[in-house]
Symmetry: C3
Subunit: 186 residues, 3 copies
């Protein structure tokens, strides 16, 4: 239905005066109806939100796509078109999208972060009360960011072949990390 | 209503054939109705957009959560579930989410940025017409980014306990900064 | 209609019990109606999604705002208020928003990235199978990110005067790059 090769958008709206109320299915994912006129689709915008706890990971970059998708795939399957927002509740870890195959890429990225952000006695940080790894962790968190937005297409996260979701743990001591996932679409 | 501890999503849609039109309240924030069956909520998707002018801040990282929330909290309170987008209209400052308590963390982050991005006569920049602090400011702006997306839950920004919104001013001369806030949800 | 100077939000919702069905226009972009009472606007939330292929660009930072806007402007014009999400399907390139006028800013940014991320025989990377420029490209991709979210106001991308969309190509060999654009709004 979403013809991406087409040079025309598939615009999706809710022209209330065309909604055949009786025929609408209670399942929002079935509430769509093609309109040959303007390619509009009658559908109910949906919102879903869930808080996920990721288990402790050791300092470094970790591929967590399967963990996150497993938590949301049932609801994700109900969205034909939309956006998935993944938000980390912490300031000493980060989320990023990067290569999903060779774990050396994750290790090399951790090597880069540790080279670029000074740590230990020679570091210039004033914020040291939480340990030598804390201030570097805050900086790395802002470098990569704590949030991702990923398109949803036909019930799945629409990422590139080699893209995956990374949780980057910047603290030495592994702790569970909280993530809020918000799905919005039709 | 949004049971985050639950392993089930709270899916939010508009099953039109279940809308008890007469009972719908004109206030969009009151247009939600729990459906015990599938936890669906009947609600009107809402959009709100506002341009905020942040006062001049000196070069460095500044916690601006209170300034931004004060500008939007009245409308924010009307969203049970949604997303808040904060977009900075400039290329020599940035927005990031980081630690909201110890100002040393902001100062150390500014120290890091100044160490990582060369500035002054020894810097290799060709773009120097706007002053020695301008090109470094552009680079820092792309390192941290100019936009944030934060989940909304029960009328509030759903950030972690220690998270706050930072405005990072990368220019020497403080100027007002324009931010466009867009709220979307139900 | 969207009075940004106003201290009040323009809240946009779908108060179903106030929709004058007969008068609603089939064109979603015409489905808005001001409500003096609460400044609410009756409108159909719309979603549109399109995959764009950007032509090969040489290693470096490139302004691609015109290329992207040309692909979406027809549909963009139908949104009075919303958000545009631009998502790159690759892990060795990035998208960022930065200065849209002086190409020296793009060249200086490329100079910075090459200084900050080691490349070649002296680099510490283990992931070298795809060439000396590949691992640095992955790191740069996470530094700037692969996604942008831009507010839509009155049918246009609401960016600052000097802001533009950059595609940063981090590989030596230019290849076409796939971008998924998702528009959502009213």
């Amino acid at each position: 239905m979403f013809s991406f090769s087409s040079m025309q958008f598939l615009s999706v709206g809710l022209p209330a005066n065309k909604v055949p109320v009786r025929s609408l299915n209670m399942n929002p994912t079935r509430m769509s109806m093609k309109d040959p006129g303007n390619m509009a689709v009658v559908a109910a915008p949906k919102w879903a939100q869930k808080t996920i706890t990721l288990p402790p990971h050791k300092r470094g970059c970790h591929l967590v796509t399967p963990k996150i998708v497993k938590e949301i795939e049932q609801d994700l399957s109900g969205f034909k078109c939309g956006l998935a927002h993944v938000f980390l509740h912490h300031t000493s870890a980060s989320l990023t999208i990067n290569e999903n195959y060779d774990y050396d890429v994750r290790d090399d990225t951790e090597t880069f972060l540790n080279r670029i952000v000074p740590e230990g006695p020679s570091a210039p940080w004033r914020h040291t009360i939480e340990g030598p790894d804390d201030m570097p962790a805050h900086i790395k968190s802002s470098m990569f960011g704590c949030a991702l937005m990923i398109p949803i297409t036909n019930g799945r996260l629409n990422m590139g072949t080699w893209q995956g979701i990374w949780l980057c743990e910047h603290r030495d001591y592994p702790t569970p990390r909280t993530v809020v996932v918000t799905l919005n679409g039709i």
